[in-house]
């Protein structure tokens, strides 16, 4: 929740135009950390078979990197 609040403050208090690619990436890295915590601790996949865990973690990484790359092109 702390990461969410920090991300929200960064996103709202500073105007993050699309030309500025660093701030969206910072927000997405924070999102990735939160998402990975959800996968590992809430979904309890840290003890799951490696391939299974990679499937869900891979989804998160793929989506965030895809969005990040698309935004960077703008």
């Amino acid at each position: 929740m702390g990461i969410t609040l920090i991300g929200w403050l960064i996103g709202r208090s500073t105007v993050t135009p699309l030309s500025n690619t660093s701030l969206p990436w910072i927000i997405f890295i924070m999102t990735w950390i939160k998402g990975q915590c959800v996968i590992d601790y809430f979904m309890a996949l840290r003890h799951a078979p490696r391939r299974f865990r990679l499937l869900i973690s891979g989804w998160l990484l793929l989506v965030l990197v895809s969005i990040g790359v698309i935004i960077s092109q703008s």
Binding site: M1, T4, L5, G7, W8, I10, G11, R12, V15, T16, P17, L18, P24, I27, F28, T31, K34, G35, V38, I39, Y41, F42, M43, A44, L45, H47, A48, P49, F52, L55, I56, W59, L60, L62, V63, L64, S66, I67, I70, I71, Q73, S74
Partner: protein
Amino acid sequence: MNAINSAALKKVPGDLAMWVFIMAELAVFALLLISIALAAHQQPETFRAGVQTLHPIFGLLNTFALLSGSACLVYAVEQSHDYPQRILQGLFATLLLGSVYVLFKSIEYYSLWQAGYHLRSGTFYFLYYFVTFFHFMHVLLGMVIVFVVRQRIQQGTYPQIEDQHAGLESAGSYWHMVDLVWLVLFPLLYLVYL
């Protein structure tokens, strides 16, 4: 299936069928989330103007509500072998926090609608309503699943404690998936395009 594989599968929380369903849902959400980014790439000004009309506080509070709901579900799962009363309390708290999400999202939809922003108000609003409402329906389904599991535990209709634990884990896995999707949707709609 050999013994090693079945031992490995046992480490996956909940029912494997639920995970197949979750992965199908994640695939659909991936397409929708990337579609938002692609549309914003094509129409940055439309998106920037659209994001300004959203309610950032509701977005933040909804994130807190879903994360807290997930934490309560984890608490319920952890108590599943020892304290039935605590399971019911944890699941009740999850339902309550899910209701908070539903309430805030409904207020947000109502105020946007009142301000004249509809599905046909442009690409941003079409995608906003379509994707967030799709997610909203998943939250409602998650609440139904949690409610049913809670009712079954309260009535003692699970034949064995292991079945109860598997039911709780499956409900939890679904809820956390909905949470995970929101964690990506929230910055994408409320923060990045300001």
